[in-house]
């Protein structure tokens, strides 16, 4: 049964989530010749985005979600479990917001890939990558990380329970390798990026954080390297699923020093006085002090789980875990228009709230939460790019 729905679910989600990638690279690739051209292009880009970005990804995604249902209700190999597992297996609702903010460069990247494991539509991939030096390592992670994780998951393949720690570690290592060879392997069609234009020999001075969550019906697997963060809201309480890799974290400091490196305080704690995080993908010049090895947590999902928030430090620098979870939950609560039906559904509990509210609106709650958090970060003076992903984990949602 799982196979049936996965085959259906496999292809569409990729398109849904790549929308973010497409619009960003379209903007980057466009080269202006004359003013009129540029203006026209901007209008076109905008129109494209208006039509495409959030609405379309939500719409396509809603479509993608509907599809696996059809074979199941029609073929229904296990009728008893049908409705329960349907709820459990389809991708949870999500929303994201990723803005340049007060920086002049956009180096954050977000990747959302529902049903990313071939042969199983049950697991969904969410990632936030915060680049430094340039955006190309973050972009590479955005494009490839989910495929690499899927491959490693398949290789580990020992039945239902692969050792996620190893899957994540190998995936991060492969992306790290890819970043190291970026200058050699990249295709000539890719637009030359900032770092290359300014410092051809310094591609290894580029890196990215990576916080990756695999959401399955029963588990939350989080792999993290760097200072982006995953936070779970469970029964109204924020639970950090990753711990930031800062150079002054005692165990990290010890590790760096044991490897012969130093942490120097220069506008905060920095590895060799340069990088303000102790783990990252890329940054070949700071190896072995800066490592790409992720810390992995596996959390069993519970009925008390409300949402998962992944975000770059543009958010976490100015918003606490608690505040972020409060805002997301408030968005869930106030979801939908203030009509009696919706209000009733909300009042009578979360499980019902999702039945009473259409999917599009519920997705809107997640993206409203992500947007509100991004706005809050900007209002609190965050000077960095801000990327936020909110995943609705409520059972039956």
């Amino acid at each position: 049964m799982a196979e049936i729905c996965c085959q259906e679910a496999k292809s569409p989600p990729a398109t849904a989530a790549t929308v973010a990638t497409v619009s960003a690279s379209a903007a980057a690739a466009a080269v202006a010749s004359s003013v009129m051209d540029r203006r026209r292009r901007r209008l076109e880009l905008k129109r494209f985005r208006l039509a495409s970005d959030l609405e379309q990804s939500a719409a396509e995604y809603a479509g993608a979600r509907k599809r696996p249902r059809i074979p199941r209700t029609v073929s229904g190999p296990c009728p008893d479990a049908a409705s329960a597992s349907e709820n459990a297996e389809r991708c949870p609702r999500f929303g994201f917001s990723s803005v340049c903010g007060r920086r002049r460069e956009m180096e954050d990247a977000v990747s959302i890939r529902p049903g990313f494991l071939p042969g199983s539509g049950k697991s969904h991939f969410f990632g936030v990558f915060d680049g430094h030096g340039c955006s190309h390592v973050a972009t590479t992670c955005q494009e490839l990380m989910h495929e690499v994780v899927a491959e490693e998951h398949q290789k580990a393949g020992s039945g239902e329970e692969p050792v996620w720690k190893e899957v994540m570690e190998r995936s991060f290592a492969r992306l790290d390798e890819r970043a190291a060879n970026w200058a050699i392997t990249r295709s000539s069609e890719e637009p030359a990026c900032r770092c290359e234009q300014k410092m051809p020999s310094r591609c290894d001075h580029v890196g990215s954080t990576a916080v990756v969550a695999v959401v399955s019906p029963t588990q939350l697997v989080v792999g993290n390297a760097g200072d982006s963060r995953a936070v779970l809201s469970r029964a109204g309480v924020p639970v950090a699923l990753s711990v930031d890799h800062k150079p002054d974290r005692p165990d990290e400091l010890e590790r760096i020093q044991a490897a012969g490196g130093r942490v120097i305080y220069w506008d905060g704690a920095r590895v060799l006085g340069v990088l303000a995080m102790s783990r990252a993908i890329g940054d070949g010049y700071l190896k072995p002090f800066v490592t790409a090895e992720p810390e992995v947590t596996v959390t069993e999902r519970s009925d008390a789980d409300e949402c998962l928030i992944l975000a770059s430090d543009g958010l976490w620098d100015v918003v606490t875990n608690e505040m972020a979870c409060d805002v997301a939950r408030a968005c869930f609560r106030s979801n939908g228009p203030p009509e009696p039906a919706a209000a009733q559904a909300q009042a009578s509990g979360e499980a019902k709230a999702s039945e009473g509210v259409s999917k599009a609106e519920s997705d809107r709650a997640c993206s409203d939460a992500a947007m509100l958090l991004a706005k809050l970060a900007l209002a609190r003076g965050s000077s960095d790019n801000v990327s936020v992903v909110v995943v609705d984990l409520r059972r039956g949602s």
Partner: protein, 296 residues
């Protein structure tokens, strides 16, 4: 003469800004009190945008006469000039401004919202109430604007670097050499009591002066072209924000904040500069401030 015309043009523009600010402030107050329809607000926004458009059109014509004057206007204060980018604000400033004002009142609204009170999401949060879709659109516009700003910045850099190249540099060198030769000739002639080199040097420097004027004018024309494109980028960014992405009410808030910022920076820096001048030259102060200060 020309300069007086430019100054008058600028003063007229400032007066227009002040009037525009009054109109926007009134519209914002009416909107806050629920007394203004969207159509009315849209008309105010449209008038404001037309004001910018007309200013850019007139300035384009003037800048073709003297590009340098409009890129580094002597009628602005040093402080104003320090924040200018190709004769005006950076196009991306509109977005930074919007981010700043959209933070106003947000903290309080979110606080209430989290407690389950206050405004719902439908009304938006904070003074400007940007929605998720708008935020995405603003971000996309931001990235396009930053990219185009980058292109123009690169071209300005090239133009500025050209100053150390043909045609200006060879003229500078030739002239310096000629001056040195003339000096040497003068020394010799002082000894020999005749001046054969002199008329030649004067004649060639007259020819050089024409070449220098031509080179400087061509540089200035290059600046005028960049200024024109910068104005178009400023306009298209502001227009996309004010008429395509934001609601009329949000647009009124943004445009009002933009005018407030512009006029306040102007007033403060002028007051400071005049204060400094008065301290230095108490007697001349009246004379220096009169031409620019006499008109409202």
């Amino acid at each position: 003469m020309d300069m007086a015309r430019y100054v008058a043009f600028h003063q007229q523009w400032i007066a227009g800004q002040q009037a525009g600010l009054r109109e926007l402030a009134e519209a914002a107050a009416n909107a806050a009190a629920g007394r203004a329809t969207d159509a009315e607000l849209r008309a105010v926004v449209e008038r404001c945008m037309r004001g910018y458009q007309e200013y850019a059109a007139s300035r384009r014509a003037l800048a073709r006469e003297n590009g340098a004057a409009f890129v580094a206007p002597p009628w602005c204060t040093a402080f104003e000039n320090s924040v200018l980018w190709l004769g005006g604000c950076r196009p991306s400033l509109a977005i930074r401004l919007l981010y700043s004002i959209s933070g106003e009142g947000l903290e309080e609204d979110i606080e209430e919202f989290v407690r389950g009170r206050g405004r719902g999401l439908a009304e938006g949060m904070g003074l400007v109430g940007i929605t998720a879709t708008q935020l995405q659109q603003i971000n996309d516009l931001h990235r396009c604007t930053l990219r185009d700003e980058g292109y123009l910045t690169e071209r300005l850099a090239s133009l500025q670097e050209n100053i150390a190249d043909r045609p200006l540099l060879p003229i500078v060198r030739e002239r310096a050499a000629a001056a040195a030769a003339a000096l040497a000739g003068q020394d010799r002639s002082a000894k020999r009591d005749d001046i054969p080199g002199r008329p030649v040097a004067a004649e060639s420097s007259g020819g050089l002066a024409a070449e220098v004027d031509a080179a400087m004018e061509s540089y200035s024309a290059g600046l005028a072209r960049l200024l024109e494109e910068a104005d178009e980028l400023r306009m298209s960014t502001a227009r996309a924000l004010a008429t395509e992405i934001l609601t009329p009410r949000q647009a009124v808030e943004m445009l009002m904040a933009a005018k407030q910022l512009h006029l306040a920076v102007r007033d403060w820096s002028r007051r400071k500069e005049e204060g400094a001048q008065n301290a230095r030259l108490p007697l001349a102060a009246a004379a220096t401030t009169a031409p620019s200060g006499s008109k409202p």
